[in-house]
């Protein structure tokens, strides 16, 4: 049981070049895989392919196979796929339903549409609200939130769906340091307690170093490195791939460049 991309090559409709080329990736339940790469490298495309939005909803051509717990995404209708894998878009404004009258309604929209029993809907909604500390804004109009609040609400809405796999495209881009930490803790806890498998595309490598079991690096649509999070993030080629090193690794490098010795007890 896993979310698996096997030799996935994807081309957007009408595009001259391939957005992804021969990508292999396995996301196991309870694991957190970080996806890094420069802007335009294919991170968002990979996210769309992983949950079946590409090609099912947005067209284009996909070669290779994407399976979610054995279910092949090509040819499986979206309403079935969303019960297995949830996605958080990069721009949360595109995710907010704009039909809900309150944050509570917004977050419960997904569970209600899964035809779950009423108590289960209420329970899931409050659990997501509590996890991301949104209690104070449950009555607010979702279309009038700050960028950071909207991003947390969108994440809560996806969490409330209770998917087995969660694909997150830059979930903390609009968040302050506290919000970023909160998301990191919530995701770590979700992976541990509920066994959800999480694929997270992020530029904040400090967060990834803390959260991820594995990091996958893509450049021009191809996987160029993968492995243990801290080892991959310390790879000197990261600069070339448009990825900033976590703060402690960057500092170590700078100290080495100045030909000084790094003392391990400093951190």
């Amino acid at each position: 049981m896993s979310l698996v991309l096997e030799g996935v090559t994807y081309r957007y409709a009408g595009a001259a070049t391939k957005a992804l080329q021969s990508v292999d990736l396995t996301l196991q339940p309870g694991r957190v895989v970080g996806l890094v790469g420069s802007n335009g490298s294919g991170k968002s495309t990979l996210c769309s392919c992983a949950v079946g939005l590409a090609p099912n909803a947005i067209g284009g051509t996909l070669d290779g196979r994407v399976t979610i717990d054995g279910l092949e995404t090509s040819g499986t209708p979206m309403y079935k796929l969303v019960q297995h894998a949830g996605i958080l878009f990069q721009d949360s404004a595109t995710q907010i339903t704009s039909g809900a009258s309150s944050v509570w309604e917004e977050i419960s929209f997904g569970p209600r549409n899964l035809s779950l029993p009423r108590n289960e809907v209420i329970d899931r909604t409050w659990r997501a609200i509590d996890a991301l500390r949104l209690t104070e804004i449950v009555e607010r109009d979702p279309s009038r939130l700050s960028g950071g609040q909207a991003q947390l609400v969108a994440l809560a809405a996806v969490l409330a769906l209770g998917p087995r796999y969660l694909v997150l495209d830059e979930p903390t881009s609009q968040l302050d340091p506290l919000g970023t930490r909160l998301v990191g803790e919530t995701l770590a806890e979700a992976a541990r307690a509920t066994g959800v498998g999480i694929l997270i595309a992020e530029h904040k490598t400090d967060l990834l170093a803390m959260l991820c079991d594995e990091i996958v690096v893509i450049a021009s649509g191809k996987v160029v490195a993968r492995g243990h999070a801290r080892e991959v993030l310390a790879d000197p080629s990261m600069h070339e791939w448009g990825v900033s090193a976590p703060a402690d690794i960057a500092l170590r490098e700078a100290v080495a460049v100045a030909e000084l010795e790094w003392q391990s007890e400093w951190l």
């Binding site: 335009g40 700050s146 950071g148 340091p177 500092l251 700078a254 460049v257």
Partner: protein, 280 residues
Amino acid sequence: MAVIATSGIGLATEELSFTYPDGTRALTSVSLEIPAGSRIAIIGQNGSGKSTLVRHFNGLLRATTGRVLVDGTPVGRRHVADLARLVGISFQNPDRQIFSGRVRAEVAFGARNVGLRGAALDQRVNGALEAVGLAQQADANPYDLGFSERKLLALASILAMGTPAIVLDEPTTGQDANGVQRVKDVIGQLAREGRTVVAISHDMAFVAEAFERVAVLRDGELVLDDTVNEAFGEDNWPILESTYLEPPLPARLGARLGLGSTPTTAAFVAALVARSGSVG
């Protein structure tokens, strides 16, 4: 970079308070002076009033009480069109400001509105596109660009206006390492031209590296306004912590090693080199 050299103008608020129509109090008696040609970063939690504050500088919001001064004149006495020539604001969400069908047209819109025409306009537009690295995409549709590129496009549109003061609301959001470097370079260039730069950011390393001063907002109140060195220095950590901010790693490590205030990696390494030199 062909961005026009203009000298900066000062911006200031005097006991500025602002309450939204729904009764939400966003700012309480904020007095902040931003000298002409300075670079200041405004930091604080989501919802602390940062965006509300900067929207007063071009008249998008009007003070409930207190005053806002642009180039020494209260904004209440200036026409919004005049303010637009003086203060350019790039929003947090680029889609709130992008509307043209072509990247070039988008960048030219503001510049044309402040009176540029012909070769001068072209030069300004090309300079701005080059500065943000979008020269190759000049004929693309803005909505075919990725989010991070649309952010850079919004920045280019503001640069092209050549305003003496520029306000950037979270300019590095969604940018990769190269994008962040571009934004830093643009700010450095604006500073060399003597323009005033105000930016909101959650990225403390970026703040330490690209700005001279830091203002901290907490629940709508200004709780710290100092140089980068002082603001991230140990004495001010309790204030930062009170609003869940953490100084950049080099600052924390520098303090632990007794190196003084070293908010950037460069400052940390320099202090370390100086110490090892004096010891050895």
